[in-house]
């Protein structure tokens, strides 16, 4: 544990135990999403599905990166991950992104966009909680939030909700979070 780092956060008025619970729940959401997105991506088939497969894969890899980036911060602040994978799954901050019963490209897209929207809400909450108080967690949560918002906009564009406003990745992943992974 980074003792003084935690003390600084406590002194700023953040409830560190609640923050740790939120970070752990969101780390669980990232890792379980990585797993469920594997199944969703695999089932994106046919003329429509193949169009989406690459984007689903980028979101899947970046969600795993988010998990990797969150874990060190959880331990720095004195938290820990559950030892049991079942427990970890069940504390997730977002519901399972399960394959829909009728796995058309559109139905899978709805699952993907719901998962991203849950993540956007979660990291917005962490940013609100840490802004001006816990600079390192805020920086991390903001970096993840930037990527989750891009994922949401990619998927929502395909659902006919309007243009995402930007391109998908060109060769690299996690442009915002990668600095936490080096």
């Amino acid at each position: 544990m980074a003792k003084v780092a935690r003390e600084m956060v406590e002194r700023s008025g953040v409830d560190v135990e609640k923050l740790l619970e939120l970070l752990t729940k969101n780390a669980a959401a990232e890792l379980t999403t990585y797993y469920y997105y594997t199944i969703l991506r695999t089932n994106l088939i046919g003329m429509e599905g193949e169009t989406l497969k690459e984007i689903a894969e980028v979101a899947r890899i970046e969600d795993r990166n988010h998990f990797e980036a969150l874990v060190p911060r959880i331990y720095e602040l004195g938290g820990k991950l559950p030892y049991n994978m079942n427990d970890f799954h069940d504390i997730s901050a977002c519901p399972p992104a399960s394959l829909p019963e009728n796995p058309t490209a559109e139905e899978i897209l709805k699952v993907l966009v719901d998962a991203e929207r849950c993540a956007v809400r979660g990291y917005t909450q962490i940013c609100n909680m840490t802004f001006g108080k816990d600079h390192r967690t805020y920086d991390l949560a903001l970096a993840i939030l930037n990527e989750e918002i891009e994922h949401e906009s990619w998927f929502s564009e395909f659902l006919g909700e309007g243009p995402s406003g930007h391109f998908m990745r060109r060769g690299e992943s996690s442009p915002f979070v990668s600095k936490f992974l080096k």
């Binding site: 939120l22 997730s92 901050a93 809400r121 909450q125 609100n128």
Partner: protein
């Protein structure tokens, strides 16, 4: 309030507090005068929501600072309405 509330159960705040999801009890929350059953929600397991909110309480004020709107509460079944605790 609409007429159908006469058929619903009335909960005082202290009665609502018993439905906190602990010991397999139903998970109920209050919002804008009504009581919602969120027992079926993945996000209310064990009567806690996102580490910050507990079941068995009136969450009307809490929702104002939540990163989502009331549509996330209103999709759950209404099982009663809130009434004032009897004054001692």
């Amino acid at each position: 309030m609409p007429l159908f509330i006469f058929k619903m159960k009335a909960f005082t705040k202290s009665e609502l507090k018993q439905f906190d999801g602990k010991d397999n009890k139903p998970i109920l929350i209050g919002y804008k005068g009504y009581v919602y059953d969120v027992s079926g929600s993945f996000l209310w397991k064990n009567g806690k929501h996102q580490a910050l909110h507990s079941a068995g309480l009136d969450l009307t004020e809490d929702l104002k600072s939540a990163p989502h709107g009331e549509e996330f509460i209103k999709k759950f079944p209404v099982v009663g309405y809130l009434k004032e605790d009897k004054k001692q």
